[in-house]
Symmetry: C2
Subunit: 442 residues, 2 copies
């Protein structure tokens, strides 16, 4: 089947996915766990073939590492799915309820988006994770993996797909695009795919964002800042700098640039340098920084760099306002922190930082769906619409307006003798949830 | 100033727009009303120049009609702004509040999107309306009007802009793109513009949606359906057909195709035809329809047509399921209605119709922000993310995550001695709102 036909089938399946009962979806998830465990040997065998090929192709070591899918990875992946089963069904929640007039009620009801297109590099566990998230949220999913994981993706998709269909999911609920052709083919499927979630390197994500009219949920860069205000507690500022930079360096929510208010610079830069260097951090500083401590000189390029490494840039700023100007110019709208004792300055910072996560006196590293308590993480978004920051299952949801009347016509609410609308809030306890499995649809 | 420079200025202004107090925004709106009233003669003079030019250019009559901005239009427009003043400020609402651990609190706070790009044809009142909506919601706005309204747009933008700045809005909060160059220039400003709202013909909106990577809020078509189920009340079905088709034909929420369950066809088609024809409606019917009543034959093209006129297509369908298949194939995901006495069938319809507004036993024409009680209407969206159906001010909003700690570090929540998160819901009564006007930001 070609890509377009697969996508169309996926779109049709999405309609039925959106109407499944919570029970059916949870049983499908449980069966997926069962089948993944049952087929683990064949999966590892396929993965070994991919790993072999990767060696022959001289794939870079980090890519090979991400490609590996062993017994432990399978166990972790299954645990991830199990945690979804216990989550509340995000579909069919009454978000608002309004009486427009006697006998005419309007409901805003949470609904799945439709078809989620997932484009990912190497990591085959991402396939399983995102497929499970889509299933739980009543979306169908179209997957396009990297060719280096071809065999692993193929068997994983097949096991998951069949396990789902066996428990009542519609044919076509999961589609795997297998051709070697460019990712560009999927980016053009704007009639079938409602949202794209890319998983991979910054360059990969940015390429996708720049080359499709389909909405993309995710982030390319994570250039996060920690601003040490003139009213900061110095010890706290240094502790938070270390945690934000060093707790785990290869992630999007690690800090890349530390901004220091100049009235505090002479006092804080020497101990800050000492503590960072103790952790093996390489420092690039602006001119004012280098006049106080002995570090390499930073250039404009440093403000624009996501090091993802034990490297940090430091800039001395004359004011809170200038710190914000720097963040809004060079940041990626991911996570930015102010360290200060002053509430008004903290709120000023939050109100003026154009960023998904504006934190006060805590580490950038808290920016994460699990730490936020979102239950499951779809990704971290630097978008300005739909979903921002760490995104849970609600990022895969939209809503539908449902109106229930009794023959109500608009002509009665127009003209000189127009009836007035009441627009009265109703209780949100209306129950739309119905198990359609046994419904007659003649 | 060129388009890029204007957009950049607008982006910077957006930061300060987002942090304005409710009072400042409302005072600016009131001053805009005052200045529009004061300058009404100059505005009408400019509009007359545009109307003259339109005549010379042999512009089509409907376009000329939409172009007109007279004293009455100014009055209506000012009334629209006045109704915004009394609305609650959508910025800074606490959407959720969670304790992550003792002293570590996470808030989800409503925030403006940033820069709204508005591209509109002829109607200059759209400029005023959307500028006011952006202002109220703390967004800055970049406008690109049609060249046929050049003089009117220019003076309206100037009056509004100055009236806003005089009451404390930041320089650059509203930008008018004046060059005659193609709308394409604006569609490329994805680094400055966060959301595009197009106002104009279907073709115009579709062109914009297909030619930008910036998110677009709106709808191209409004191909709405009314499905008369086998368990429908015949009189109600006919009444709703007439209201949905005839109450106002030139709008997106008027019905274009009526689907009739075949078990009811023989009974309902003759009176339905009679009543529609009484109202002057031209009918195109499928083969089964023409075998029962004498109407023109419909082709596939009719199912895909938004007539926006006293014309309707009728198709007999063998089942509720086939009605849904038709709607999901040919509909535009705008508004679709089922007429039935059966609740389960109504819910089946709502759960399987891939549409923004799924209605039961009421007219398609209710699909409207004012009728929904949204306070102000930004537009109607057939998007599958962010906002769907009639969109109020909340369509111009996103949120920001705000975390408040006291030196909290992630290292304490990792490893073998990891502290556990509490993830306890907090009351949403936290107060972030602060008037920054007098703040020291050194």
């Amino acid at each position: 089947m070609d890509i377009q036909a697969t996508a169309l089938k996926c779109k049709k399946a999405g309609i039925f996915m959106s109407a499944l009962s919570s029970e059916t979806k949870d049983k499908a998830l449980e069966n997926i766990i069962k089948e993944l465990e049952k087929n683990v040997d064949s999966i590892i065998e396929a993965n070994n073939a991919d790993l072999e090929q990767a060696k022959n192709d001289n794939l870079e070591l980090p890519l090979v590492k991400r490609l590996k899918f062993d017994r432990e990875k399978n166990f972790e992946t299954c645990n991830g799915i199990a945690s979804l089963v216990s989550l509340e069904d995000p579909v069919g929640k009454i978000l608002s309820a309004t009486e427009l007039d006697k006998g005419l009620a309007l409901f805003k009801v949470s609904r799945p988006i439709g078809v989620i297109g997932v484009i990912f590099e190497s990591r085959p566990d991402a396939l399983v994770q995102i497929a499970a998230l889509c299933l739980k949220s009543g979306n169908s999913v179209l997957l396009k993996g990297g060719k280096e994981a071809f065999a692993t993706n193929k068997i994983l998709a097949s096991v998951i797909y069949k396990a789902g269909v066996a428990k009542g999911l519609p044919e076509g609920w999961l589609g795997l695009l297998e051709t070697r052709s460019d990712v560009d083919q999927m980016l053009k499927l704007d009639k079938s795919v409602d949202l794209i979630i890319p998983r991979g390197s910054n360059e990969f994500v940015r390429y996708i964002m720049d080359n499709t009219v389909i909405p993309v949920l995710g982030h390319a860069d994570g250039i996060c800042h920690l601003y040490i205000d003139r009213l900061a507690d110095s010890k706290m500022a240094i502790d938070l700098s270390i945690d934000s930079k060093c707790q785990y360096v290869a992630v999007c929510n690690a800090v890349e640039t530390i901004l220091v208010h100049e009235s505090l610079a002479k006092k804080i830069l020497p101990p800050l340098k000492r503590e960072l260097e103790k952790k093996g951090v390489k420092i690039y500083g602006c001119e004012k920084t280098t006049s106080i401590v002995d570090v390499e000189t930073a250039t404009k390029k440093d403000w624009e760099t996501e090091y993802l490494d034990l490297t940090v840039a430091i800039r001395v700023v004359p004011s809170l306002k200038e710190a914000l100007a720097h963040i809004n110019q060079y940041g990626s709208g991911h996570t930015d922190v102010i360290v200060t004792r002053d509430k008004k300055r903290a709120f000023y910072f939050m109100d003026h930082a154009d960023t998904a996560d504006a934190f006060w006196n805590c580490s950038t590293r808290f920016s994460d769906g699990f730490r936020f308590g979102l239950g499951a993480e779809v990704g971290i978004s630097t978008n300005k619409i739909h979903a921002r920051g760490p995104v849970g299952l609600e990022g895969l949801m939209i809503y539908q307006w449902r109106m229930i009347g009794n023959g109500h016509m608009v002509k009665d609410y127009a003209g000189k003798t127009a009836k007035a609308f009441t627009h009265k809030p109703l209780k949100k306890d209306f129950q739309f949830k119905i198990n359609h499995a046994k419904a007659t649809i003649d």
